[in-house]
Symmetry: D3
Subunit: 246 residues, 6 copies
Amino acid sequence: MIQDDVTVAPETLDLLRQVSTATITTQLIKNHGLRSRSIRGVKPIDPARAKFVGPAYTLRYVPAREDLSLGGKRPLRVNPAQTAIDAIPAGSVMVIDMNGDTDVGALGDILIARLVFRGAAGVVADGGMRDIDPVRQMTLPVFCRGFGAPPSFASLLVAETQGVIGCGGVLVIPGDIVVADADGVVVIPRYLADQVARDGDEQERMEAWVRRKVDAGAPVGEVYPPNHRYLSEYQAWVAAGRPEGG
Amino acid sequence: MIQDDVTVAPETLDLLRQVSTATITTQLIKNHGLRSRSIRGVKPIDPARAKFVGPAYTLRYVPAREDLSLGGKRPLRVNPAQTAIDAIPAGSVMVIDMNGDTDVGALGDILIARLVFRGAAGVVADGGMRDIDPVRQMTLPVFCRGFGAPPSFASLLVAETQGVIGCGGVLVIPGDIVVADADGVVVIPRYLADQVARDGDEQERMEAWVRRKVDAGAPVGEVYPPNHRYLSEYQAWVAAGRPEGG
Amino acid sequence: MIQDDVTVAPETLDLLRQVSTATITTQLIKNHGLRSRSIRGVKPIDPARAKFVGPAYTLRYVPAREDLSLGGKRPLRVNPAQTAIDAIPAGSVMVIDMNGDTDVGALGDILIARLVFRGAAGVVADGGMRDIDPVRQMTLPVFCRGFGAPPSFASLLVAETQGVIGCGGVLVIPGDIVVADADGVVVIPRYLADQVARDGDEQERMEAWVRRKVDAGAPVGEVYPPNHRYLSEYQAWVAAGRPEGG
Amino acid sequence: MIQDDVTVAPETLDLLRQVSTATITTQLIKNHGLRSRSIRGVKPIDPARAKFVGPAYTLRYVPAREDLSLGGKRPLRVNPAQTAIDAIPAGSVMVIDMNGDTDVGALGDILIARLVFRGAAGVVADGGMRDIDPVRQMTLPVFCRGFGAPPSFASLLVAETQGVIGCGGVLVIPGDIVVADADGVVVIPRYLADQVARDGDEQERMEAWVRRKVDAGAPVGEVYPPNHRYLSEYQAWVAAGRPEGG
Amino acid sequence: MIQDDVTVAPETLDLLRQVSTATITTQLIKNHGLRSRSIRGVKPIDPARAKFVGPAYTLRYVPAREDLSLGGKRPLRVNPAQTAIDAIPAGSVMVIDMNGDTDVGALGDILIARLVFRGAAGVVADGGMRDIDPVRQMTLPVFCRGFGAPPSFASLLVAETQGVIGCGGVLVIPGDIVVADADGVVVIPRYLADQVARDGDEQERMEAWVRRKVDAGAPVGEVYPPNHRYLSEYQAWVAAGRPEGG
Amino acid sequence: MIQDDVTVAPETLDLLRQVSTATITTQLIKNHGLRSRSIRGVKPIDPARAKFVGPAYTLRYVPAREDLSLGGKRPLRVNPAQTAIDAIPAGSVMVIDMNGDTDVGALGDILIARLVFRGAAGVVADGGMRDIDPVRQMTLPVFCRGFGAPPSFASLLVAETQGVIGCGGVLVIPGDIVVADADGVVVIPRYLADQVARDGDEQERMEAWVRRKVDAGAPVGEVYPPNHRYLSEYQAWVAAGRPEGG
């Protein structure tokens, strides 16, 4: 019922790799009225490895029932998380709805090793992760709410893969474009990805110019956003081909 | 993947109507090891109208995206909540996963009027309700976390009906047996409903006898649970056909 | 800097007295894009005395410093809350920013008796109230987050009266129109009050008609909102002067 | 190590029965610097039955371990809660440290029936209670944070009786004087009980006089607290033997 | 109404630079009865750059209203945050009341670059910051509650500059002395700054001596605080001019 | 009443030093049904110094009463925390029940220096620590919920040492075996320590083999847990003496 079938070009993803989540959220709010696209409460396990861009591949957990869990009286025979991890397309971002549970860890080093092998771009979970020490040694950027030593089956079961989910207060449709950096994780509807990428890129070029002015002493009340005089100066600089030092 | 196709007999539902949620949770924990079957944080809108028993009929909300909501740029044309409410079987309990959101109200008086017309047994939502004054005048027992005047589309969208959900920390599979009273709401897996009903009924008969003993001055350390002497007395009373005043 | 000097006509306030907060929040979101105008987390002390409409008169508390409080080493000589309460115009609603603190009670029976004498329309505080038993006997509708026996100076000081405040997540400018009922409290910018009152009134007339249809068995998927057929029927009924029983 | 062996006279308890918790907390803060004596987050099950005064009799719960609980592999043979309830002296208030847990109910109707038989004055728990419907029919005032159908052994074990505990942010030493009404519950150290009772009684006599003045139109800025003129008037009224209507 | 006009000498600020926040909070509680002067929930963006001392320069946010925000229908023309940042005196600490909101970032790299240019000493906000990667490269110590990519106008508006605010549970009057290190941020009333600086400095000299004793095996029960024997030894050491190795 | 007198062999502690908390929690849930043995919400001050194993030595704080604290009117003469710290046996882990309070710091550098001198293995507190900069320079692994500059007496008092406590939702009996690493802290009942150590060691050997298979491309759906084919291969590898590269 909730769908978005627009195809996103590889060039759009490349352009988004140059744009910060601070810029993208500004674009989504100011130009498109989307105020709730930043996933709440997640942090990168390694702040130095927080950047990625890719389409969302979703997993949804629900509360466990003790008899259905590993070690219970009627354990489920198939673990959909494993099937999903074995099938994730290269470049995708696994987005996990844990309903905020940080008492357990959704994925440990073995499942994340498989995501690395499959070429996943990143992981975002609004709950806990485990095996943090080995995971920190691996190349995959992982955002989560905390660390939990117990396995996910201690309190959660996978209900569904590739469904529409909520993650940290954000609606995530499989295929939405997920962008992450040190500030956090933002989710762009596919039909807006191209416009947000181009407008965001232009915003960042102007802000880099503004930052140089501010570093040189320009008051933010005049230059950010630029008043008439500064806007003319900026436009002249753009017309001149954005010469270095400008 | 998570399923439970056992059929529950009408007699079982009738028997469960005699048993309190305090007793049912005791049975689920002590005899079946199920510790997480009581929905957290919900209260009846009217404490004097809190009792119901029936199979779960589920609805799942996710966070809204402003452009998909009523009044947005790309509003969804179909509202699955309406379809579900028009189709709910008589005797069912609508169980709603709102992820705890109490800033909005999931259902107002018009939708609840339709549930009354359809013969629903009750409503449980781990979020807010609205139109509380007219709803209080209606016959349907409703449990929720709070009251929110804004309509659900202010922050939520329906993602799915009749799927596996979490509600207040409890796994709910469509068809699970939902039992409510002033203490709260408990969800019984179908395959356990009959046994829980019968064992719970027996537990309550014994506890009524214990209560009479305690009111008469018996120390709880001897009678609750009954020690050897009191157990003999109880068994004699049962053997005698549970004569009144016993 | 944040201002709104529009005058609101008494007829608008009268019309708003006929409209529920559920309707007003729907109008504010759907027609004006204002999603955050419902005060979070407050409840009426007496659900049977929850209705009022009036302009906001604001009070802002900040955390206390022990030496400035009653009994401290440098107690403040003037209590701006008293000055404000002695000066509140008849018909106004006192809106109090307590930053969510429910460990104390902002107002007790003596201060509320003075508000009654002054003719205040209501009180809303995103924190605690005290002297609940005598306050329950009084005629003033009071919304709060909880009850706190300790006096406000145990953890709070008044910083300002009639300033711009936040209350339960809502921006409140002195003079904003505050409307309350059992669902909660909504705050309308003055410049929108007249339009919201008229559109809300029309929405409620249609919904009353819809409710009668639903009570008679119409599926909500067809009548709420009305499809083509029902809309024609509704318009004919309006054209006929809304005859009773319609 | 933390002790208070002062004996509290029955007359002091009688006087405290006339004084509200709002007054007592004011006395404790203003005259004795004790800011944290009001138990946070608890409410009476029945607001019309919220008043009691008596010495504290304490019970401390800690998190459960599944094997030690009823139904576990190594269940404890003695339940100290039962021993405590069978031994509580008449007039005492059972104060229970549940560490805020509202997922379970500490006491149900059978244990509370025993407290009634023993003549307990009240119960305060910073967690949940169960069997709410029958408990509401009983005469004992009970304050708690919420209702939880599951039995306490679902997540808690009793660690100790009559020890020093924390309850809702308040240090409670066995024997402390506990006073409750609709505003909440306050705990007075024994060595201060007599002075707080007498000073609180005098404060309430003056505030009743102030309230009459305010009801008659006196501004709170002049009469609460009384300025020079009103203070003289009050003192004259006291000197005259507090004649009615004063 | 709440004021403190004492002038703080530069020597006092210099002395406070030698004293830890752990020592200052001990002084404020033990000698002045001020228990609530440590800002709750904030952390330095870079723990290695957490130290600063300076007078408070305040900014107060309130919840946004969508029409007043950038991109709304009636955007405010003046942003008081910019005016404040352009005017902040060198050596000041910007203290921001965001009411705990971490969904957005109050300041990004351009505004912080301007604070650096103006010579600000530090920033403390009880909410989020953005552009974390470039901000980490800058020299200004920043304390906040979290990181939020969305711009502040997504949920907040500036209501006021240089007013009395609450920040993380602490009353902050413009000009109060703010001291920060890895343990957190403490706010000293001006009239106490000199005494706290001198007493804190003496406390730290003694504790350095105690630490050497503990490292050498002295039991804390004897030396911290020093008993009679250790106190004599300490006083002799002070009298001897605090020789090294003491 | 709650006791566990089993003696744990030094070899068991040595073996547990090789096993991760992720593995231990899996063992406790799957084989022993203990779901709540991981302390919630605590993190190591230095993630690179998070590993330790040792028996629990417990300390319990309760809320402070201002008159009993340092600087109050009736300060306690003995501080049981000091006595406990002076007496802790080498190799023990100090586990502190602060009821989640992070507004203060339980221990600072002087008390931790004493723990280092005594040879303690680690510290876990479900609240705050202070003097973080010097503590970071010390060798003792410390887990806590946050940093609080104010001394513990600002809001807490020690009620007891070596009693049964709750810490972060876990029942801790003095002598329980505490194991910590970057994922968190888990508490093992003594009577299970040996079995958990041996089974956990075997689980980790198999998982290391699985990880090598996954790194080489084996789908987790086949190898984790191993299906029939992989299990045979694993058993053959074990039978061959676990040759390197296997």
